[in-house]
Symmetry: C2
Subunit: 216 residues, 2 copies
């Protein structure tokens, strides 16, 4: 199901990527007892320009009124629904190395209803068969299909070494995973029914260096 925009256009990817930031801002403003705000203030908070905010919001029809602005409670509820934050999401993590262990401890749940509930690695990893101090079991990857079906998990975080990225992905897809947050620098081959969102830390650092070098 595609998100319904005002004119049934597909939502641009750049807009979709800003939705978590909008949601976060409206939650904060609401908690700070700010009742309404406007596109200039939203833009300043997010570090984008106000035309971008107005264009993003225009995809969803009338979120505010001219000369009045946006009610923070209404917008918080709107983005919560849009991002499905009313519902708990359980996540499996695959690859319990340095980065995987850090991600298991990362407080995804602090601000949202997303939680890593299981982790996997190959039999050779001594952590397999143990449980983290946050009570996350670390299973053998060979058990993943059985476990995911039982626990109705469709989302995975992939933090294996690059050279195992595609093999692990194939296992995840076979086990019914529909979305992968990919921390490896590999581009993953998946069927059309599976979504991949990649976080390439090396690219992020290169992009920073590029912007530093080319600062006017």
């Amino acid at each position: 199901m595609q998100t319904k925009t005002k004119n049934n256009e597909a939502l641009p990817k750049a807009t979709a990527k800003r939705l978590p930031a909008y949601y976060r801002l409206f939650k904060k403003l609401y908690n700070d007892n700010v009742e309404r705000t406007n596109s200039q203030q939203i833009a300043e908070n997010l570090g984008v320009d106000s035309a971008t905010v107005r264009r993003d919001f225009s995809y969803f029809g009338e979120l505010g009124r001219r000369g009045y602005g946006y009610e923070t409670k209404t917008l918080r509820d709107f983005f919560s629904e849009l991002l499905n934050d009313g519902q708990e999401t359980n996540i499996a993590l695959v690859g319990v190395g340095n980065l995987g262990r850090a991600l298991i401890h990362y407080r995804f749940h602090e601000r949202n209803k997303m939680r890593i509930t299981q982790a996997y690695d190959v039999a050779g990893n001594p952590l397999v068969g143990t449980t983290t101090d946050d009570n996350i079991p670390i299973y053998n990857i060979s058990d993943i299909k059985k476990n995911l079906v039982n626990d109705d998990i469709e989302t995975a975080i992939l933090s294996v070494q690059s050279e195992h990225a595609q093999d692990a992905t194939d296992i995840l897809v076979d086990a019914g995973i529909k979305g992968i947050l990919n921390f490896t620098p590999q581009r993953l081959s998946v069927p059309d029914s599976v979504v991949v969102q990649s976080v390439d830390l090396t690219s992020e650092l290169q992009t920073l260096l590029f912007f530093m070098k080319n600062k006017d």
Copy 2:
């Protein structure tokens, strides 16, 4: 200094963010002895459409020839220069918690000339005064200004807890840091002379869930 584009336009941020992926692809193709490629193949590799590739490349003038395509060696060298990958970049990491420790071990250097050479935390962290098994010293944050000036470091990775993000940023700016890769979910206030690139892991996961929910 702004990157010179063909018509002296500013390079769009979305294009700038794809540069590391282009560079990575041309390095790989060259190493695989592929002599030339075309925008369709580049697009498939990056998961974007070929019009985007042609538009991105058009900002840099004549990188290829119609009907011939792009020479991988020429393009590899072009992006290496653009991304300043001929030069070693030393980086300081601030905040040696779970994520910070994982980032210290992350192989930024494997594919590029970027390297974390120092880490910092507050005196209360028992790791301060020790050295990691990769030989990265972990210093007291109070020594940062002196150390950074001595070592000519202008780039920092920020992986402290959210509530200390702005204080740590102020210390970094005061110590002469010109670019921050921000792993905290906080929006940081910095002077115009400093660049911030943010990696918000919670937002990445929310974006994945949004795309999964709205898959057509």
